[in-house]
Amino acid sequence: MEQESLTILLIEDNLDHVELIKRGFQNHQIPNTIYHVADGEAALDYLFQRGEYVDPEKSPQPHVILLDLRLPKIDGLQVLKEIKDDDVLQQIPVIILSTSEAEKDLAQAYVSHANSYLVKPVDFGKFTQLMNDLGFYWLSWNRQP
């Protein structure tokens, strides 16, 4: 368990969900910083350090990526594919965080090597607990190079 702040890249277009996720991580036992982008194109620009995201101080490489599936401009599955096709970026855990429980979405996400697939709970208490558990699991227990 490190004391430095761990970085999460949140890719989510629904601003209510963003608010909820950010709040869930605000008082998390693992110190963290969330960087938020609202569409798939911005997500890829961020990760490949293009455009406004060239400065690694301002746009640090995340320890974990939370990825919604339905996104403007470039779809979440396409974003996932491009991350997992890149030799360096593929090492970052990508957690799908979606409202969809469709078999097809689940299957496609795993085929494209999502590390995990979570369905957003509708219940507020459960949502908060999920943020807590997911943060602790990926930021504290899970190891990456």
Partner: protein, 147 residues
């Protein structure tokens, strides 16, 4: 969260570790059943339903695979590679559970699409807590389409 027992395939040759893992899952808040194999060849036979593992009633498809890296006969990384190369099996989450913190093991595991990589804590209570958190994450929260 379902009432039926969720299936874990544990691939581990160290019997002390296996004992510890099985014990931690015994009173887990998620009802589960652990199937244990002790080498890489048996792991692949189990998953591809060969030989003694042909009967899906006796060797059900797991919801999650806990995979040690250093294994007799077929190495853990090779097991990982073969599972993730299979169109159907690749959707089963594989959690690497090892004593190795070597950068090269971490990098290779992710290269072969391990879903997660965990280092076994030496401290007993931490070990138990990891099993609890990990079990709940993969069996309670995570979804996958294989079954």
């Amino acid at each position: 969260m379902e009432g039926e027992a969720l299936v874990i395939l544990l691939v581990e040759d160290n019997l002390d570790h296996a004992e510890l893992i099985i014990r931690s899952f015994q009173n887990h808040r998620v009802v589960n059943q652990i199937y244990h194999v002790t080498d890489g060849e048996a792991a692949l036979n189990y998953l591809f339903r060969r030989n003694q593992y042909a009967d899906p009633e006796k060797s059900p498809e797991p919801h999650v695979i806990l995979l040690d890296l250093r294994l007799p006969r077929i190495d853990g990384l090779q097991v990982l590679k073969e599972i993730k190369a299979d169109d159907e099996l690749r959707c089963i989450p594989i959690v690497v559970l090892t004593t190795s913190e070597a950068e090269s093991d971490l990098a290779q595991a992710y290269e072969h699409h391990a879903n997660s990589y965990l280092v076994k804590p030496v401290d007993f209570s931490k070990f138990t807590q990891l099993m609890d958190d990990m079990g709940f994450y993969w069996l309670g929260w995570n979804r996958h389409p294989c079954l």
